[in-house]
Each structure stands twice: as structure tokens, then as C-alpha cells.
């Protein structure tokens, strides 16, 4: 049966061993690359949701400072069925929250997992099965979050359409609890062992956990924003002790999400003049921030009802320290997604354009540097590791 193949193999041996005199060392086979334990902080995790082939998304590790595809591309983690990516600094682990079907595209038994990757080898170090009910859909940064200072728990938003949050104990590697959040969704952490969810009426629900991950109490606020007149996007950015939510009309709402009490601050406006009032935020991931308290918002002119996913031609920069808009960055290409990475010299603004390639701008100059082409077919989320 295998005779034919052995024939080929022996042929090769003869050929190879006959050149023992030549000044040549054969290259080793079987070497797999590894990555540094701590990635340089300007590297990005670009998540290709693979919209046209949802069973084969990938989280791609990319160095946006490099010039060629090969130098940029560091590796990937396959992420199945519009997955969610999280990274724990405390544990130095990657988490891919994903779903599998025993018969692929036509379904079969569904299994939802938290797949744990080692950042150095990008190989699976463990997996935790969770209830097969996580929300699947377009990416929102708050679909899952690490809870508590020690980042012991991972909360994952479920939607069946009943709403709840699955709590996973990352230390014990088990699913521990499902917290009902009826009428509210998402997981917004606050550093303490509790998390908040956004409710359909514009209020917030905070769920407090005990050391085992069980729900001890929950509190619900008054309405903080108008979900019909001027809704806020699902995903806030965190700075200081506040979560800053962005409204469709282009205002920022600071919300102090504490363990016991939630309070909203005064609205901040991105627009500074009357002329700018027709500009609206929009995109698949329309807002990001950096470590210095700058918020970056994707903006388009002539906005109106239904334009909130259109993306934009500019990125407006708002400084949360100075409480004012400090820059309008004109993008090279119309873009749908923004992200940032890095500190100091290697600091970048990234924007996925309508060709689904990622444009790289250097910060703080906002000069266009290059376009990354190896980020996959639909890179909808760009995470820096800060």
C-alpha cells in the first residue's frame, strides 16, 4: 500500500545523502513561531468577523508599524461564528468566546465555549463550555467583559431573546452562574466585583457578585438618556471612573458606574460651531480612545435618521481632560471602524475603510502612514492591548 510513497522517500534520501560534501546544511523541519510574552503595546488585535463566512472568523495579531504584509502579520486565532475577543492583562491570556456547530453551516448541535489561548504560542490552552445562548450579531465591545480587579470572572451577554449574563470563573475554569438581566443587556465592568447593563428605557442595571460569582444584589437607576430621541451607542469608552457613552446626535454622556451608585454627568458636545451640527457619529465601531483621555469618533456630514452605521470621512478628537474637542482628522478613506494602539513614539489611529483594509495614521500628528492589507475580509473590531 505504502510502497509507492516509500519509493519516493528513498529517492530523496539518495539525492540528499549524495551531497554530504557540499557546503550546505539542510534547514530543520517542524519549527513553529512563537510571539513575545508581552506584545509591544502598539500591536493590534484585528478581529475579522468574516461576515461572508461566519464560521471562520479570526482574531489577527498585527504590527501596524511594519511595511510588508509578512512583517505586519504575527499570527491568528480562528474564531468561530461572529465570536467575541477579550484579553486579560492580569492573567496574560487571550479569550475567544465562540460557537461551534456539529454539522457546520447547516447547524447540528451548538456548543458555546470560552476558548483560552496562550499569547505566546497562540495555541489553545484550555476551554470552558458555557450555555449555548450568547448573543451573536455585529460586534459590540460590551458583549463580554472581565469583572473585578483580579479579573477573575468573565461576564458574557446572552440573548435568546431572554436577556442574561453568564458568569465564568477564569481561575477555576468553570461556568458558575447565569445572572438574569431582563430588559437590560451588556456587561460594563467597573473594576469592582460587579457590572452594569444598559436597559431599553435608558436606565442602567448594576449586578453585584459575591466571591463565588453568585448574584448578591442588584440596583437599577432612573432613566439617564432618551433611547428613542437620541440613543447612545452600546459601547462606551472608560476613562477615570467614568464610562463615556456616545449619542447618535454626537454628544458624550459621562456615567459614573459605581458598585453602589450610578450617576450621570453633563453632556459634552463634539461639535463646536453651528456649522458642525449636521455632522453625526457613525460606523460599525464608531468610537475609541487612547490612554491619555482622548476620544476618537468617526464622523460623517449630513447625518440623519438611519445614518448611524454609515461610518465617516473624519475622526474628531475630544480631550476628556480639557473637556473640549481638540482636532478634526480628515481620513484618507471613508471608514467604518476605528481603533487605537500604542503609547509614546509608536502610537496609532487605525481605521477600517470601505474596502475592508485598515488605514494606519500616526498619532499625534494624524499623518497617514500605510494601509494594512492582511487583516481579513471584514475586520470590524480593532483592539489595542492597552
Amino acid at each position: 500500500m505504502n510502497r509507492m510513497f516509500q519509493g519516493f522517500v528513498f529517492g530523496c534520501i539518495i539525492a540528499s545523502s549524495s551531497v554530504t560534501n557540499a557546503d550546505f546544511k539542510p534547514e530543520p523541519i517542524g519549527i513553529i513561531e512563537t510571539l513575545p510574552e508581552q506584545y509591544p503595546d502598539h500591536w493590534i488585535m484585528a478581529q475579522d468577523l468574516s461576515f461572508f463566512h461566519m464560521l471562520e472568523g479570526a482574531v489577527r495579531v498585527i504590527d501596524p508599524s511594519e511595511e510588508t504584509t509578512g512583517d505586519q502579520y504575527k499570527g491568528q486565532m480562528t474564531s468561530s461564528f461572529i465570536a467575541v475577543f477579550e484579553h486579560s492583562k492580569v492573567r496574560n491570556e487571550h479569550y475567544v468566546i465562540e460557537s461551534f456547530f456539529s454539522r457546520g453551516g447547516r447547524g447540528g448541535k451548538r456548543t458555546d465555549l470560552v476558548t483560552i489561548y496562550d499569547p505566546t504560542s497562540l495555541s489553545v490552552s484550555d476551554e470552558i463550555e458555557i450555555p449555548a445562548k450568547r448573543l451573536t450579531g455585529m460586534p459590540k465591545g460590551t458583549q463580554a467583559a472581565l469583572i473585578g480587579e483580579e479579573e477573575r470572572f468573565l461576564g458574557i451577554y446572552n440573548f435568546t431573546p431572554a436577556q442574561s449574563v453568564s458568569i465564568v470563573d477564569l481561575e477555576k475554569r468553570v461556568f458558575v452562574n447565569e445572572v438574569a438581566t431582563e430588559g437590560c443587556g451588556f456587561v460594563i465592568p467597573n473594576g469592582a466585583r460587579s457590572f452594569s447593563s444598559i436597559c431599553g428605557d435608558g436606565s442602567f442595571l448594576t449586578s453585584n457578585l459575591d466571591a463565588s460569582g453568585a448574584l448578591t444584589s442588584s440596583t437599577r437607576t432612573e432613566t439617564m438618556f432618551d433611547p428613542v430621541g437620541d440613543p447612545v451607542f452600546e459601547t462606551p469608552i472608560a476613562y477615570d471612573d467614568n464610562a463615556y457613552f456616545l449619542s447618535f446626535s454626537g454628544k458624550l454622556l459621562p456615567v459614573n458606574i459605581g458598585e453602589k451608585q450610578i450617576s450621570a454627568g453633563d453632556w459634552l458636545s463634539l461639535a463646536t460651531t453651528e456649522d458642525e451640527k449636521s455632522w453625526r457619529p457613525g460606523g460599525i465601531t464608531p468610537m475609541t480612545s487612547d490612554t491619555n483621555g482622548n476620544v476618537y469618533v468617526l464622523m460623517h456630514p449630513d447625518g440623519g435618521e438611519g445614518t448611524h452605521k454609515n461610518g465617516g470621512s473624519e475622526v474628531w478628537v475630544y480631550d476628556l481632560e480639557k473637556k473640549k474637542r481638540t482636532n478634526r482628522i480628515e481620513l484618507k478613506n471613508w471608514s467604518l471602524v476605528v481603533g487605537t494602539s500604542g503609547t509614546g513614539k509608536n502610537k496609532f489611529l487605525l481605521a477600517t475603510n470601505t474596502d475592508m483594509a485598515i488605514d494606519v495614521y500616526e498619532l499625534p500628528t494624524a499623518n497617514y502612514a500605510r494601509t494594512l492589507t492582511g487583516a481579513g475580509s471584514t475586520p470590524f473590531v480593532i483592539d489595542g492591548l492597552n
Binding site: 522517500v9 530523496c12 549524495s18 539542510p26 534547514e27 479570526a58
Partner: protein, 177 residues
């Protein structure tokens, strides 16, 4: 080898008739033919011995060109996504993948020293298709009934997962001149 020699002559003839675009690396294939290496089962192979050192080593090989380009000399008979564009290198796999022990082998001429080398196209397996730098060169490729010479086959064999990710091009030996 007689048959191969004749074949080589005929290929060279074609080259001289000006059909080829990349004459530098054309026509050498088939000199030795191509084969499969069962790395784990054939310990005598220099390939296997070298792998035992565990570290990629810079050989004395003088090379030139862009290893992220389909025109790079080692890729004379490759088919798939180049690992150099996928987090690996010309002879290593991207992190978290597994290198297939069973490989398809080509013979490519290095334009720097004019010598022909045996190149092993080990696939990296276990992650979804890389999607970058797709390259398909078919010199020496044969239909499926000559499986050892067919690049239409998924060579992620003998790995934990047969899902194909990208292809390397490892110089494992020197070919007869």
C-alpha cells in the same frame, strides 16, 4: 534517471523557445522529480535529523528576492497561502499551528548560486485559511493519480487537524546537477 534526463532536455527546449516567463527557475523541476517525506517514520532522512536540533538555523545558503512574493525561487512548485505573509517564515509555521510531517517536495534552482535544491512544502495546519499571499505555481504538478506530485491534495495529513492554514518552503537538500 534516464527518463528524467530526457524530460529535462525537453523542458529546456521549451524554455529556449521562449515560452517561459521566469526562465531562471523554470525547467529544473522533474530533474529529480518530487516526493513525499514521511518525516516521523523515516528517521534516516537528513530532514528528520536536522529537525532534531530544534532551532531554525541560518544555513550558508545565499539567497535573494522577496520571500513574500510568489516569484521567490523556493516557491517553484507551491500551492497555497505563503506562511511568510501569515506569521510564519519561509521555513517556520505561524504560532499555534502544526506543521504537517508529510510533505510535497519540489526542486528549485537558486538564482544566487545556480544550484538546484530540494524544497519541502510543509503545510501549517489547524487554523482557518490564512488568506494572504495566495500563490500557485504548477511546474511539475501532476494529476491526482500521481498523488506524490499533485498539489491539489490537502497535505495537512498526519496532523491533529486537517484544516489548512498556509505553506512553507524548506530547503532540505541539494539536488544532483
Amino acid at each position: 534517471m534516464k527518463e528524467s534526463k530526457n524530460l529535462f532536455d525537453r523542458i529546456s527546449e521549451q524554455v529556449s523557445r521562449g515560452l517561459a516567463q521566469n526562465t531562471s527557475r523554470r525547467g529544473l523541476f522533474g530533474l529529480l522529480g518530487a516526493g513525499i517525506v514521511g518525516m516521523s517514520s523515516i528517521p534516516l532522512l537528513p530532514v528528520a535529523r536536522a529537525a532534531g536540533t530544534g532551532q531554525p538555523q541560518a544555513s550558508d545558503l545565499q539567497e535573494s528576492g522577496d520571500d513574500q512574493s510568489c516569484d521567490y525561487w523556493r516557491y517553484c512548485s507551491i500551492d497555497g497561502f505563503l506562511c511568510t505573509c501569515c506569521g510564519g517564515s519561509v521555513n517556520t509555521c505561524p504560532p499555534g499551528t502544526e506543521m504537517s510531517p508529510i510533505t510535497w517536495i519540489g526542486t528549485c534552482k537558486n538564482p544566487e548560486d545556480g544550484k538546484s535544491y530540494i524544497v519541502s512544502y510543509n503545510d501549517c495546519c489547524g487554523k482557518s485559511g490564512c488568506g494572504n499571499c495566495l500563490c500557485n505555481t504548477n511546474e511539475g504538478d501532476r494529476p491526482m493519480y500521481v498523488p506524490a506530485k499533485s498539489n491539489d491534495i490537502n497535505w495537512c495529513l498526519g496532523t491533529q487537524s486537517s484544516v489548512y492554514h498556509c505553506s512553507t518552503a524548506i530547503v532540505v537538500g541539494m539536488a544532483f546537477e
